[in-house]
Amino acid sequence: MSHSAWVRAIAIAAFSLCLGVVVLGAYVRLSDAGLGCPDWPGCYGHLTPAGAAADERTASAPTAGRPLEIGKAWREMLHRYTAGTLGALIICLTALGLAWRRERIVPAWFVTALLAIVLLQGTLGMLTVTRLLKPLFVSLHLLFGFTTLSLLWWLVLTLRQPHRGARSDLPVRGMAGARRLALLGLIAISLQIALGGWTSSNYAATACPDVPTCQGRWWPQADFRAAFMPWQAVRADPQLNYEGGVLDNPARTAIHLSHRFGALVASLALLAAAIAGLRLGGPAAPAALGLLLLLALQLVIGVSMVLRGFPLWLATAHNAGAALLLLATLALNRSLWPRSAPVTLTG
């Protein structure tokens, strides 16, 4: 295998694993298993929950006063170990990219940034546990997970075999507009994912048990000021456990409403981007079509979640849908830019 084929294979493996880790992470959060192991990096001081369960000290003097729940502990440790494996893969990717930098398979800055983000992501994973699920850390942990996924996806898309034959770089009619709309769509979906993470980490989903109204009203009592004070929880009592959320109901309602309004805005932005891509045709069309179908699916999942009383599998699917929607938006953006920048594939 050529060097570039190795890099490509590792990038594809890391991307696939990363998608699994992201959704598994969401499952851990949504099944309230985030503190399944209240210490870090071990689980009740052991390598596995099985080891912790066999240790009689776990029962007599549990870490942080939390008795071991074996199912939650396994979910949390599975997430940590798969994420650790992903970290190792990305370290390999960065090392190879830097070692073979003369071949210009991937730019050195790209793989260095990827590694830096993964290290930061590991730290945020630790803080999520040790700082007892403060929404700021949980949300940042989600966002950097999505960032890692996005960078790996961009790498996979870019490392695809280059198109044969000369590609004309002449401006296509509608290209500039499509690029603008695709970029706007990317910004919109990113903000909407951040709002979704904020909704989940503040346990605000159930604040509105109905749709399209909330608590039977179009404009229920909502406290937007208290809803978005990310530093407050961090500065407050470090021993305060955030599991289940601490905000009062109007603040949670405000968060939920923001995510709904965001859904409207993001949907319109992505719809515009998808239509622009479909009208442009060529390599943009499949990405635009995928984006359109995933947008429809994600809206269905989002509304169904509320109507069906927030079942765990739908909530997890909502996270997976967000990830896929982000990937489709990135693919659309990628298809609108020439193959040469910013990463080139040689030999």
Partner: protein, 301 residues
């Protein structure tokens, strides 16, 4: 439909000509959706008078609207290959005969609905008839490429009419059925309009493929099909229907989307007509699935 008019000049009106005037296959689909509306409106079997007289009245009104459409469109029909053999362009029936027949059907329909069902059903049915036979045919159809989108409201009314025949008021769930047909009409009709665009151009009707081109229409068909896929999941999402309906809707939507994608990205000459034919199968099975889901044991759902 009817026999080819080999002896067209014989000009003697038969019951077949009157029958064809009612667009029996379109009316059949309309009545199917209306019957489903009637059946879904009630737990178990709905009152028999609503079921029988309600749907009979709706069917007669639809037939009346179809006959009026034949009269008003007879000049256009004569210019299009698809409609050239209709009873009026061939001279089998005189416009006055057809109009009298339409009025008769309409009056019988109203009498049945007012006498045996309820006034709200009669009023809504009458409104739908006017929207289709007059507003759409006389004005919308020739005025804007959005003709079938707006006029689709008349075609989407039957399940609501069937529903109101039982409940005597308009429920959100009935409007959901309305919404399904409303979103279904554009991809259904535009697939046909792409196939018949030369006919429409010849007859000076501003159908979307004529005014904005085939490519633009294909895009809109695709977008409406995606929208339809979302809307047809609403009955499950709102808890109105269960898993049987969900499974059917997912399968039918997958197939319909496949047709729309093929139309957009791999257009072959026969694809528009194939999609058009499937759109009818689609709506039929979707409504039958609603029905099946309504009557099969709820433990499955």
């Amino acid at each position: 439909m009817s026999q080819p008019n080999v002896h067209a000049l014989a000009a003697s009106a038969s019951w077949r000509d009157y029958f064809e005037l009612t667009k029996p296959r379109v009316v059949a689909l309309i009545v199917l959706t209306a019957v489903v509306g009637t059946l879904l409106a009630a737990r178990g079997l709905p009152p028999l008078d609503a079921l029988i007289f309600g749907n009979l009245g709706i069917a007669l009104a639809a037939a009346s609207a179809a006959a009026i459409n034949h009269v008003l469109d007879r000049r256009i029909d004569a210019r299009m290959a698809r409609t050239r053999t209709r009873p009026l362009p061939t001279g089998h029936l005189a416009p006055a005969q057809a109009l009298a027949f339409a009025l008769l059907l309409g009056v019988i329909s109203m009498v049945i609905l007012v006498a045996f069902v309820n006034v709200l059903t009669a009023a809504l049915t009458f409104a739908s008839l006017i929207v289709y036979a007059v507003v759409y045919t006389v004005w919308l159809k020739r005025a804007t490429p959005q003709n079938i989108v707006i006029g689709g409201a008349a075609g989407a009314a039957p399940p609501v009419l069937g529903w109101v025949a039982v409940t005597n008021h308009i429920d959100p769930q009935a409007l959901l059925l309305f919404l399904i047909i409303f979103a279904w009409t554009p991809p259904h009709f535009w697939a046909l309009a792409i196939a018949r665009r030369h006919d429409y151009a010849k007859a000076d009707i501003p159908m979307l493929p004529v005014t904005h081109g085939v490519e633009f229409t294909r895009l809109h068909v695709l977008l409406y099909t995606v929208l339809l896929s979302v809307i047809t999941l609403l009955p499950y999402m709102t808890g109105m229907s269960g898993l049987i309906y969900l499974a059917a809707a997912v399968l039918l939507n997958g197939r319909f989307l496949w047709h729309a994608i093929a139309l957009k990205f791999a257009p072959r000459d026969e694809q528009p007509m194939r999609m058009f034919r499937f759109s009818i199968t689609y709506l039929m099975w979707l409504f039958l699935a609603l029905l099946l889901d309504h009557y099969l044991p709820t433990t499955l759902s």
